[in-house]
Amino acid sequence: MRKILVKGKTQGKILKSENPINFLGSVDKKTSVISDAHHDLFKKSLKNSILVFPSGVGSSVGAYTIYSIKSNNSAPLAMVCQKVDLTVATGCALANIPLITVTDKEFSSLKTGMEVLLDTESPNPITFLE
């Protein structure tokens, strides 16, 4: 389902994860590098990406991690989820990172490396560039 959780406009490259993300447990608070060896983004930094992932999981304190990576200038430019959860929703709200959810079909059309324009005010929030 499409929802606009946190408004904003930005442009960048997609970094997509097929796994949910536990921000408290597996994202470095300073560098935003994924530390979980079982995760498909293992050793990758979330910095300046349009982060696409199914949903957040784990403790609600993970919202502070999102705030922390933003304060350390290593946060994603925006996040796109399949399903909303309160940790990611309130974390992005706190850190002012645009956040939307998309339909399952839209989710599968988004691939790592694609350059997109994300604008929550537009009827089509994601525009593919190139």
Binding site: L5, S60, A63, Y64, Y67, A93, L94, N96
Partner: protein, 384 residues
């Protein structure tokens, strides 16, 4: 979600950065929970206090916003990591203590009542029936909805903070009158508070927003708290109903078999090196009852008792604290078993407790094993 003109203006940043952030949080929470509008609340209770849980990011965030942010409604606060009166006996490092004190100071600067308690429903006067509040601590939210005739979402640390700063909260489904889709039939006979904790844990796993319980009988305060603590630990449910008529809902049984499954999941040791009582923290009634139950007997090992500062002060005046200390108890205010930095796995192998919530976090966060027993069993086995 529909916003009023004033709320829109705050969201656009016309009322300053703090209000803009608070409304962003409320809108994101409201959209996530399909609320159609914001409504006024009269009381907020915040979690996100213990440095063990919020870490440096939390400490820095609070220090930064507390320069300008002030709460608009009565706002109480969850426990922190230690009791400043006796912290020197617990071998905590200086960094922990200074970061924790900074967190305390930030909340006080914002106008929050430094109650450091997970049982606000027991130490503050309860507002009139149906009052809308925003409680982030899960056992407190469930207790407020189920036993105190108040209405709250199961808030996150941030949605409750945003409610405190704006006096508003999303009108999510838990705030409306809706009946539970699921009933649990309580079949276990002669339940103790531990049984009710396990029932709560089971309910949190199988239920969604609210759960109806039939066949529960009369519970004392200790059992009610244990039930709420158990449910808050295992799931996202935030309300119990107690209707005997379960004809309109799906029904599952809670019998010896279901109880034993919860017990086997959470009980990981035959005996403990020390005992903890509290999570939720003990109220005056429980402390007074414990003094009576001990009848002059003493604990054979360390027994840590967690309670709010206000309760410890009253219990001291009434002579209970003196008696309990004589019986070998350490009485700590402002903190709790849950996510305590005072119990470390290199010093302790296993803890005995009657708290399901405490058991879960001791095992999963502190990494120590847990021996679960009811209070009466603890007194029988562990005192002389």
């Amino acid at each position: 979600m529909e916003l009023t003109k004033e709320e829109e203006s705050a969201l656009k940043g016309e009322q300053g950065e703090i209000m803009e952030m608070a409304y962003r949080i409320l809108v994101a929470t409201g959209e996530a929970t399909d609320a159609e509008k914001l409504i006024p609340i009269e009381w907020a209770h915040l979690s996100g206090v213990n440095y063990n849980t919020i870490g440096d990011a939390g400490e820095e965030f609070l220090a930064s916003i507390s320069k300008d942010a002030r709460v608009k409604v009565k706002t109480s606060l969850n426990p922190m990591g230690f009791d400043i009166d006796n912290v020197s006996s617990y071998n905590l490092d200086d960094n922990f203590i200074s970061k924790q004190l900074s967190i305390k100071q930030s909340y006080e600067k914002m106008g929050v009542i430094p109650s450091f308690s997970c049982i606000p429903y027991e130490i503050f006067d309860i507002p009139q029936e149906g009052t809308q509040v925003s409680f982030a601590e899960s056992n407190a939210a469930i207790h407020a909805n189920s036993f105190d005739n108040l209405k709250t979402n199961k808030e996150s640390a941030f949605s409750a903070l945003a409610s405190a700063l704006t006096g508003k909260s999303p009108y999510s489904s838990l705030r409306k009158e809706e009946s539970s889709k699921l009933t649990i039939r309580m079949k276990v006979e002669n339940p103790s508070e531990l049984t009710y904790g396990m029932l709560g844990f089971f309910a949190g796993k199988v239920g969604n927003e609210s759960v109806n319980i039939s066949g529960i009988g009369k519970m004392d305060r200790r059992s009610c708290k244990s039930l709420c603590g158990g449910m808050g630990t295992s799931g996202t449910c935030a309300k119990f109903n107690f209707n005997e008529d379960d004809s309109e809902s799906e029904v599952v049984d809670f019998d010896e078999k279901e109880m034993n499954e919860v017990y086997d999941q959470l009980n990981t040791a035959e005996k403990g090196d020390l005992i903890t009582l509290g999570s939720p923290q003990l109220g005056l009634e429980e402390i007074s009852d414990l003094t009576t139950k001990l009848k002059g007997r003493s604990f054979k090992k360390r027994c840590m008792i967690f309670c709010p500062r206000a309760v410890k002060e009253q219990a001291t005046k009434l002579g209970h604290v003196g008696k309990l200390e004589k019986a070998g108890c350490e009485i700590l205010s402002d903190c709790c078993t849950c996510l305590t930095p005072l119990i470390k796995k290199d010093e302790v192998d296993a803890v005995t407790t009657n708290s399901i919530k405490g058991a879960y976090y001791l095992k999963n966060s502190n990494g120590v094993d847990v021996n679960l027993k009811s209070l009466s069993q603890i007194i029988e086995d562990e005192t002389k």
